[in-house]
């Protein structure tokens, strides 16, 4: 502990920093899972770690929580230097892993009480807290059923409850909605937003771009073990704010039509967007009627003209060069899509 008083992690600057990571690296065999990652999460902030499969999200989270050793770098949590001693701050953190790690042979209630006891809570206190969380998470009816028989969504909810049983000021969530159906995912996001409102610092990994956009205040894009960009969501979205996109559903989208549109609308970028779809993009608002008229003059029927709001997805694709759609599909091979609905 003596080391931390001399390190800069206890200087005044860091008082409102909950998690600070510098130069974090992890090598598995010849895979550089995490490669010199730096970031700082402010107290009370909901910080998103967004990246595709194998980007190094879980590896980073494991090093932060004491489940994996770091090869290089420093970690400080709530001003406590955890680089050498990962146990030093474990009483301050709650962890919700990507897969449930509760006991299938115990009931939901017993699992929560067991986890509470691991943090030194006394019997009366832990039973009350377990009941409270079971009610809050809509699991009161399943409280006395074996955890092994829970559905996937119920398991995830109980795992989150177990992660916050000791009311930790800092919470780590590893892909909390992956593999959960739309309704369940929405409920989980509401729970997370509620924790955030109550002041919990949250570090959340996800590969759902919309989820990150909706929940997080700041986001780090991680690709192949490196952070390619960290910023507030509003900042990330800034370059897309003055971009206007129209999407037409048409009876024909061949090259001639696309060219004719481009000529008629100087300053627009026009492109086919799959069969029967044309995308028009410009840096100023686009007038729809003249374009529809032009299309009709060319004998093309227009069944839909829709303005598309540029999303974080566009930013993500620009910054990382990764097709967002590919990332999502890749992940959902196993589960039912829990995408941000």
């Amino acid at each position: 502990m003596a080391a931390s008083t001399t390190s800069r992690s206890t200087t005044g600057l860091d008082l409102d920093i909950a998690i600070r990571v510098e130069g974090l690296s992890k090598l598995y065999g010849d895979v550089q899972a995490v490669d010199g990652v730096d970031f700082a999460v402010r107290r009370g902030e909901l910080f998103g770690f967004l990246g595709p499969n194998g980007a190094g999200k879980t590896s980073t989270l494991n090093m932060l929580t004491g489940l994996a050793r770091l090869d290089a770098g420093t970690i400080s949590i709530d001003g406590i230097d955890c680089t050498r001693n990962p146990k030093a701050a474990q009483h301050l953190i709650g962890v919700v892993p990507d897969e449930s790690n509760l006991y299938p042979e115990l009931t939901g209630f017993e699992n929560l009480c067991f986890c509470a006891a691991l943090y030194g809570m006394r019997r009366r206190e832990r039973e009350a807290r377990a009941r409270e969380l079971l009610a809050q998470f809509g699991l009161a009816e399943a409280a006395d059923r074996g955890f092994g028989g829970y559905s996937r969504g119920m398991k995830r909810k109980l795992t989150i409850a177990a992660g916050i049983i000791h009311d930790p000021p800092i919470l780590f969530l590893d892909e909390p909605t992956t593999g959960i159906d739309v309704a369940g995912a929405r409920q989980i996001r509401q729970l997370i937003a509620g924790l955030h409102d109550a002041g919990t610092t949250i570090f959340l990994t996800t590969h759902y771009i919309e989820e990150a956009e909706r929940l997080c205040e700041r986001i780090a894009f991680i690709v192949r073990g490196r952070i390619v960009r960290t910023d507030a969501v509003a900042e990330l979205m800034q370059p897309t704010r003055d971009r206007h996109v129209l999407l037409f559903a048409v009876s024909s989208s061949d090259a001639g039509i696309v060219e004719a549109l481009a000529e008629a609308c100087p300053g627009c970028r026009v492109a086919g967007a799959g069969p029967g779809r044309i995308r028009v993009e410009a840096d100023a608002p686009i007038l729809i009627a003249p374009l529809v008229r032009l299309l009709e003059e060319h004998g093309v029927e227009v069944t839909e003209a829709r303005q598309v709001r540029p999303s974080l997805e566009d930013v993500f694709v620009e910054v990382t060069g990764i097709e967002a759609g590919a990332m999502q599909k890749d992940k959902e091979k196993g589960g039912k899509g829990g995408g941000a609905a």
Binding site: L67, Q90, L102, Y103, L118, G120
Partner: protein
């Protein structure tokens, strides 16, 4: 204080989930019984001679009672990721592993008591030196639990843990001097006998149950203690190196 709440809760959960389960109880009862019966019939002696069989049977009961359960309480939980939950808890790894092993140690001691209690119905146990028998049983239970722990944290699969523990258990039983005196073993395998903690425990039990010990008892106890400490330290080292990798 808070750490001890975690300690007792882990121990209590393991006891309910594993040690008090019918299969484990019947295994703990049946196995020593079968061994006693087997050796009793083979020796062809009277009921009074049952006392001379006790050191061997007690040792087998401890060894099998303790080493086999660690494959479940540790390796299986690691595989099912519930062990991660324990590693995330704000308790030291030392205390955590003591909590995970205390159940097995108590289970081993309880198993050891089974043949002794049964023998009490048939034979006179008033000459037994309990003052050295009980500490020896406790130390043997600790040493063989920690041996089981060392095996359990050195592998990844439950079946590997079970295979490995047999790899140690059977040679130990035959080389520890309980069933065949070490002096009568081929000279080349004799050094092996002295590598097993059970050998020293068996030596104390011989003395306690009225036979001759071959080494000073103080040395037996000291070496058992050393085995406990070294196996526990090696197990923690392996957890830190392999599981928090």
């Amino acid at each position: 204080m808070k750490q001890w709440i975690a300690f007792w809760t882990i121990l209590g959960k393991d006891t309910r989930s594993y040690y008090l389960k019918p299969p484990n109880i019947s295994w703990g009862l049946l196995f020593p019984l079968a061994w006693t019966g087997m050796f009793f019939i083979r020796s062809g002696s009277g009921l009074g001679d049952i006392v001379s069989l006790l050191p061997g049977v007690v040792t087998v009961a401890i060894l099998f009672g303790t080493t086999s359960v660690l494959a479940v309480t540790v390796t299986f939980e690691k595989k099912g990721r519930t062990f991660e939950r324990l590693l995330l808890a704000p308790i030291s790894l030392e205390l955590l592993m003591l909590a995970k092993t205390s159940g097995a140690i108590l289970f081993g001691i309880a198993n050891a008591a089974v043949p002794v209690v049964m023998a009490a119905f048939f034979a006179d146990l008033s000459h037994v030196a309990w003052g050295i028998a009980v500490p020896a049983v406790v130390l043997m239970a600790i040493a063989s639990t920690f041996l089981g722990l060392f095996i359990a944290v050195s592998v990844s699969e439950v079946f590997e843990a079970q295979t490995f523990s047999n790899f140690f258990r059977f040679p130990m039983i035959f080389l520890c001097g309980l069933f065949f005196p070490i002096a009568k073993l081929p000279i080349v395998v004799r050094p092996l006998s002295y590598l097993f903690p059970v050998t020293y425990g068996a030596d104390v039990l011989h003395a306690a149950f009225g036979a001759e010990n071959t080494m000073p008892l103080g040395l037996d106890f000291a070496l058992l203690g050393v085995f406990c400490a070294v196996l526990f330290a090696l197990s923690l080292h392996n957890i830190r190196r392999r599981w928090i990798a």
